[in-house]
């Protein structure tokens, strides 16, 4: 089953096309949008973990975020993309090792009331990851290297 899922991904390796996102429910091994698919299910049809074996789950790896993590990660083709406040990282899903990190300084005069500084997750399309920052920039990062492709101020 795992190999079959991997084979499905291979033709489009590294490129998360619009079609793949629309048909995200056909790729249960990936998590291509905030809610997993366009139906907003937030549910994985993968059947390996069941009520009877859930108790025997063990930690495979852990990744220490710089800040509080309230993120819905994107998972595509063996890479997990996570975000924090004005930061992002790509992780190897097999080992949890960092593939790249990206950071944008939070302005010194930034103030937030009530909530901590968090980011709820990125979006992906083709070879770009999109991150919204606390200082109201939308930033596109290269999925392979984490290099900033562009950024745009979207709000005051």
């Amino acid at each position: 089953m795992k190999w079959f899922a991997l084979l499905l991904c291979l033709p489009a390796w590294g490129q998360v096309s619009f079609d793949r996102i629309v048909n995200a429910s056909r790729e249960p091994g990936n998590w291509l949008t905030y809610s997993g698919n366009y139906q907003g299910h937030r549910f994985s049809p993968l059947a390996q973990v069941t009520p009877s074996n859930v108790a025997s789950l063990r930690v495979k790896w852990a990744y220490q975020m710089d800040s509080r993590a309230e993120v819905s990660p994107i998972v595509a083709d063996g890479v997990m993309y996570v975000t924090g406040p004005n930061s992002a990282a790509a992780l190897d899903v097999r080992t949890g090792r960092e593939l790249w990190t990206w950071k944008r300084p939070i302005p010194k005069d930034y103030q937030n009331i009530g909530f901590g500084k968090v980011n709820r997750g990125p979006a992906i399309l083709d070879d770009q990851i999109f991150v919204a920052t606390l200082d109201c920039y939308l930033v596109a990062l290269d999925t392979k290297s984490g290099i900033e492709r562009w950024s745009s101020k979207v709000e005051d």
Partner: protein, 278 residues
């Protein structure tokens, strides 16, 4: 011993009169003491000031070479950090701003808050001397160089201002970090100027094809590579038949035969002009 003590205290001009004024020795000592009283403070001050100026320069240079040069280059030619051998530093228009920047840090650069103000002034003064070195002249046309850059496929591995492929080092601000001479050499002999953080590795898994790629991450048990097509590979070392670090090798080919003459000048001018985001 008391005589010695008297002579010493008189000589440095702080002793009280303890030698009898009627002895000839006392008269000589008295004259000597008065002379010293007049001159010594001046001499001490002058010597101190001279030593201080010399010390600032020496101390500044020593601190720069031991703590700053790793990123900024031994002669301020740049590397991981920007080149400092230029008359104008954008982020430090005056000496006060330069001292503050060194003390506070900026972006990835840690602040040298532990330096004494004198040491800080010394480093800042030394950095300014780097800017007085003769400036490099870059022949060639940057506009034409941009064409040479894309025609020769550089975008296939490098990103400039968000355009291209992120396999090799990003070049968006390469002109602020590397000299034209360095860039020219890298184009002709890439293996002579290997970039840090881009270790080229060959991994041969027990099953499947060998992979050559840039090491993205590694620990005792696993290694992650990115190959030239941008594909991501993750291996457990126990699954590998061989893992070789290709020391001194680079995936970047030499362009000695393809790019020469005016084209090379233009390409170098283009790259040297890439100073980062406006």
């Amino acid at each position: 011993v008391p005589a010695l003590h008297t002579a010493f205290t008189s000589a440095i001009g702080i002793g009280s009169m303890t030698v009898s004024p009627w002895t000839p020795g006392a008269r000589i000592l008295d004259t000597l003491r008065n002379t010293m009283r007049r001159w010594v403070p001046g001499v001490i001050l002058a010597v101190h000031a001279l030593a201080q100026a010399a010390a600032d320069d020496v101390v500044g240079r020593r601190i720069f070479e031991s703590q700053c040069a790793l990123c900024h280059g031994q002669n301020g030619g740049g590397g991981r950090g920007p080149a400092l051998n230029r008359p104008k530093l954008e982020r430090a228009p005056d000496d006060e701003a330069l001292r503050k920047l060194i003390s506070d840090g900026l972006g990835d650069m840690p602040g040298a808050w532990q330096l004494h103000p004198d040491e800080l002034a010394g480093v800042a003064a030394y950095v300014r001397t780097l800017g007085m070195l003769p400036h490099e002249t870059v022949p060639g046309d940057a506009g034409r160089g941009a064409r040479v850059y894309s025609v020769n496929g550089c975008t296939g591995c490098h990103i400039v201002a968000g355009q291209g492929t992120g396999f090799g080092p990003e070049l968006t601000a390469i002109g602020s970090r590397r000299s034209a001479a360095f860039l020219r050499q890298t184009i002709l002999r890439p293996d002579a100027t290997l970039p840090s953080g881009f270790q080229y590795v060959s991994a041969v898994p027990a099953k499947g094809a060998a992979v050559r790629g840039i090491r993205v991450n590694e620990d005792s048990f696993t290694i992650q590579l990115r190959d030239a097509r941008g594909e991501h590979h993750s291996f457990r070392k126990s699954e590998l038949k061989a893992l070789r670090r290709l020391q001194g090798e680079t995936p970047m080919p030499s362009y000695e035969k393809q790019i020469a003459g005016a084209d090379l000048d233009d390409l170098v001018a283009y790259l040297a002009g890439l100073k980062g985001k406006p």
